[in-house]
C-alpha cells in the first residue's frame, strides 16, 4: 500500500514542475508588455515603469524569474493581486469554502439521484423505467450548463419566486464567518432565518452544477451494474436464495464500485470547471468567479496562482481516488498498476 502511494507521489513531481511552468509561461507569452497590459488606460511614467518592471522581476532573465517564482511558491508566497493588493493565497482560502460548499452539495445531489437511478435502470433493464431514466440522464448530460442555470432562475426564482437569484445569503444577515461555510456559520450564528436563507441560496446553484455529474453517474452506474449483474457470482448469490435487494446492493453494487468511483473522481474536475459558469451566473463568491473576474481584469498574479492551486486540488483528488481503488479492490495496489 505505502510503496504504491510512494510511487504515485514520485510520478507527481515532474507533473507538478510542469504545472508551475505552465502557469508561469502563461503570463510571459501574453502578447504585449505585461506592465502596460496590467496598467491599462493609466500609462505609467518611465520611472514608474522601470520600478514596476523591477517589482515584478520582469527585468531578470526568464529562467531566473522562474526560479524566483518557484522559490516563493515553496515558501507559500503566491504573489499579490494587482487589483486588491492582497496575497493570492489569502484570497484563495477566503473564497475556497464557498466553492467547496457549492461543489459538495452538487456532488451530494448528483450521487443521491444519479446512482440509485442507474441501479434501478440496470435492474429493470429494457423496461419503461430504464428507457425513461436513460433518456432523462442523456438529456442532462447534453445540457448546456449556463442555459440550464438560467432556466432554473427563470422558473424557480422568477416565476415561482421560491429562491433568491444570487449570492450566498440574504443581505439582511450579519454575523461572523469563522469557518467560511455559510451553512455552518449561519447555523452557529443563532440568527433567526439565517440558516434557511443560506439553504435557499444554495439549492439552485447546487442543482444546476450537479445536473451533469448526476447524468454521468446514472449512465456509469447503469453500465457498471449491468456488467456485474451478468457475472457468475450473482447467479450463485441468487441461487443461494438471497433477497433481490441483497443481491443487488451488497453483491453487485460493491463490485460495480470501481468504475463508479473513477467517475466520481473525474467529476471533481468537471465540478470545478462547471463552478466557473455556475458561480458567474449566480454571483456565487467562490474561486470559479474569482478566476473569471481575474482573467477579465487581467490580474495575472491571481490567474497564475489560481491555476496552480486549482491544479493542485485536481491532482490531490486523483491521488485520493487511486488510493481508494486499493481499498475497494486490493488486487489493484498489489499489481502495482
Amino acid at each position: 500500500m505505502f510503496s504504491f502511494l510512494f510511487r504515485r507521489l514520485l510520478v507527481l513531481i515532474p507533473t507538478y514542475i510542469g504545472i508551475t511552468l505552465t502557469a508561469f509561461v502563461f503570463i510571459r507569452v501574453i502578447p504585449g508588455d505585461p506592465i502596460l497590459v496590467m496598467s491599462g488606460e493609466r500609462s505609467p511614467s518611465p520611472e514608474k515603469y522601470a520600478e514596476l518592471m523591477h517589482a515584478f522581476g520582469f527585468d531578470q532573465p526568464l529562467y531566473v524569474q522562474y526560479f524566483e517564482y518557484v522559490k516563493d511558491l515553496l515558501q507559500g508566497d503566491f504573489g499579490k493581486s494587482i487589483v486588491t493588493g492582497r496575497p493570492v493565497l489569502e484570497e484563495f482560502f477566503e473564497l475556497f469554502p464557498a466553492t467547496v460548499e457549492l461543489a459538495a452539495f452538487a456532488l451530494f445531489f448528483a450521487l443521491l439521484i444519479g446512482i440509485p437511478a442507474g441501479i434501478i435502470a440496470a435492474v429493470k433493464r429494457g423496461t419503461f423505467y430504464d428507457h425513461t431514466l436513460m433518456t432523462i440522464s442523456l438529456t442532462g448530460f447534453s445540457m448546456p450548463l449556463f442555459w440550464w442555470a438560467l432556466l432554473l432562475i427563470v422558473f424557480f426564482s422568477g416565476y415561482l419566486g421560491w429562491t433568491p437569484v444570487s449570492g450566498r445569503i440574504s443581505a439582511l444577515y450579519f454575523f461572523d464567518t469563522p469557518t467560511g461555510f455559510m451553512l455552518i456559520d449561519s447555523w452557529l450564528s443563532n440568527e433567526e432565518g439565517a440558516f434557511k436563507s443560506a439553504v435557499m441560496h444554495l439549492i439552485l446553484p447546487a442543482v444546476a452544477l450537479g445536473t451533469i455529474p448526476m447524468a454521468t453517474f446514472a449512465r456509469q452506474s447503469r453500465s457498471a451494474m449491468l456488467e456485474t449483474l451478468g457475472e457468475d457470482f450473482i447467479k450463485t448469490a441468487r441461487a443461494k436464495g438471497l433477497s433481490p435487494f441483497k443481491v443487488t446492493v451488497v453483491h453487485a453494487f460493491r463490485n460495480a464500485l470501481i468504475p463508479i468511483v473513477t467517475v466520481i473522481g473525474l467529476s471533481v474536475g468537471v465540478l470545478l470547471g462547471g463552478a466557473i459558469l455556475t458561480e458567474t451566473i449566480f454571483s456565487w463568491p467562490g474561486i470559479g468567479k474569482w478566476m473569471v473576474d481575474s482573467i477579465f481584469r487581467r490580474d495575472y498574479p491571481v490567474v497564475q496562482g489560481g491555476l496552480i492551486l486549482i491544479a493542485t486540488i485536481v491532482i490531490m483528488v486523483n491521488l485520493t481516488v487511486d488510493v481508494l481503488y486499493g481499498i475497494i479492490d486490493p488486487r489493484i495496489s498489489k499489481k502495482g498498476h
Binding site: 430504464d130 436513460m134 438529456t139 448546456p144 442555459w147 438560467l150 458567474t280
Partner: protein, 303 residues
C-alpha cells in the same frame, strides 16, 4: 455471428457486408437513428444557409425590435422565431448559427485526431524517455479543469472563435493521446504486428498501416463525444464573452446577448439554448449508437 461469412467473400463485398452489419446494428438503436435525422437536417441548414434563410443574419430591422415568435401573441409570419434586441431575424441567425456549430466541431476534432493520434502512436512506439515526456505533458493539461484551461488560453490568444477552437482542441488532445496509446500498446503485443516486424516493415508502416486501423473504433466514439463537448464548450466560452464575437450568429454568443432579456423576452434565450441542447443530444445519441455498433463489448444502451 456473420464473421465467418464475411471472411469467405471477396474483398469488395466483404466491405459492403461490414457496412451493412454496421448499419443494421446502428439502426437497432432508435435514439441514434433520430439523432442522425436531426443532424442531417442541421447539416442541410448549414450547407444551404444562403438559400433557405429568409433574411441576412446580421441585418437589423429597426421597425421590428424584440418581436416574439409566431406562436406567441404578437408574433408574425414575417419573423417566424421573432427578432432579437437589435431587430435581427432569429430564424436566419439560428440557421447561420448551425454552420458555426459544425465548423467548431469539425475543426476541433480534426486538430485532436491529427495531433492526438500522432502523439499517442509516438508514445506507444517509443518506450522510455519520449513516452514519459508525452504522457507527463498530457497529465499536466489534464490537471487543469478543461473550461478554465480553455478560458486562460483564450485570454492569452485573444477572444475570437478561432482561438476558442484552438483552446478547446488543446484541452481535449490528452484524451485522444491516452486512448490511442492504450489501444496501440494492446495491439503491439499481438502476433500480426510481430510477423509484420519480422518481414521488415518500417516503423511508419507498422504505425499507420498495421496498428492504427485497429485503434479506430474507440477513437471514432471518442471523436463523436468530443464533437458534442466542443460545441458545448465553445458555446460556454461564447457565453462568457471569450468565444465568437458580435455580430457572429453563434448560438452561445446569442445566449449571452439574450441574457439581459431573460425575464421580459424569454424566447430569445430559449431558442438558441434548445438548439444547442438538441444538437448535443443528437450527437451523443449517435455516439451511443456508434459505440454499440463498433464495439459490442461496451454496449450500454442495448437491452
Amino acid at each position: 455471428m456473420s464473421g465467418e461469412a464475411i471472411n469467405n467473400q471477396p474483398k469488395q463485398s466483404a466491405l459492403m457486408a461490414v457496412l451493412a452489419s454496421f448499419w443494421f446494428e446502428f439502426r437497432q438503436n432508435r435514439g441514434a437513428f433520430y439523432g442522425l435525422i436531426f443532424m442531417s437536417i442541421l447539416l442541410i441548414c448549414a450547407f444551404l444557409a444562403d438559400f433557405i434563410s429568409p433574411y441576412s443574419p446580421i441585418e437589423q430591422y429597426r421597425d421590428a425590435l424584440k418581436l416574439p415568435p409566431v406562436w406567441v401573441d404578437g408574433g408574425t409570419w414575417a419573423h417566424i422565431f421573432g427578432t432579437d434586441a437589435l431587430g435581427r431575424d432569429m430564424l436566419s441567425r439560428m440557421i447561420y448559427g448551425s454552420r458555426f456549430s459544425f465548423y467548431i466541431g469539425v475543426i476541433v476534432i480534426c486538430i485532436c485526431l491529427t495531433v492526438g493520434v500522432m502523439l499517442g502512436l509516438i508514445a506507444a512506439f517509443n518506450k522510455g524517455f519520449i513516452e514519459n515526456c508525452i504522457m507527463r505533458l498530457m497529465d499536466i493539461i489534464l490537471a487543469f479543469p478543461s473550461l478554465l484551461m480553455a478560458l486562460a488560453l483564450v485570454a492569452i490568444l485573444g477572444p475570437s472563435l478561432l482561438n476558442a477552437m484552438i483552446a478547446i482542441a488543446v484541452v481535449y488532445i490528452p484524451h485522444f493521446v491516452r486512448l490511442t496509446r492504450a489501444q496501440a500498446l494492446s495491439e503491439l503485443g499481438k502476433d500480426y504486428v510481430s510477423s509484420s516486424k519480422t518481414m521488415g516493415a518500417s516503423q511508419a508502416r507498422l504505425m499507420f498501416i498495421n496498428v492504427l486501423p485497429n485503434c479506430m473504433a474507440p477513437l471514432i466514439v471518442q471523436a463523436t463525444m468530443s464533437f458534442s463537448s466542443a460545441i458545448l464548450d465553445a458555446a460556454a466560452l461564447g457565453f462568457l464573452g471569450m468565444g465568437a464575437q458580435a455580430p457572429t450568429p453563434e448560438w452561445g454568443t446569442m445566449l449571452a446577448d439574450a441574457r439581459q432579456y431573460i425575464q421580459s423576452d424569454p424566447w430569445m434565450m430559449g431558442i438558441p439554448g434548445l438548439a444547442i441542447l438538441f444538437t448535443v443530444l443528437s450527437i451523443n445519441l449517435i455516439g451511443d449508437g456508434l459505440r454499440d455498433a463498433l464495439d459490442p463489448k461496451m454496449k450500454t444502451s442495448k437491452t
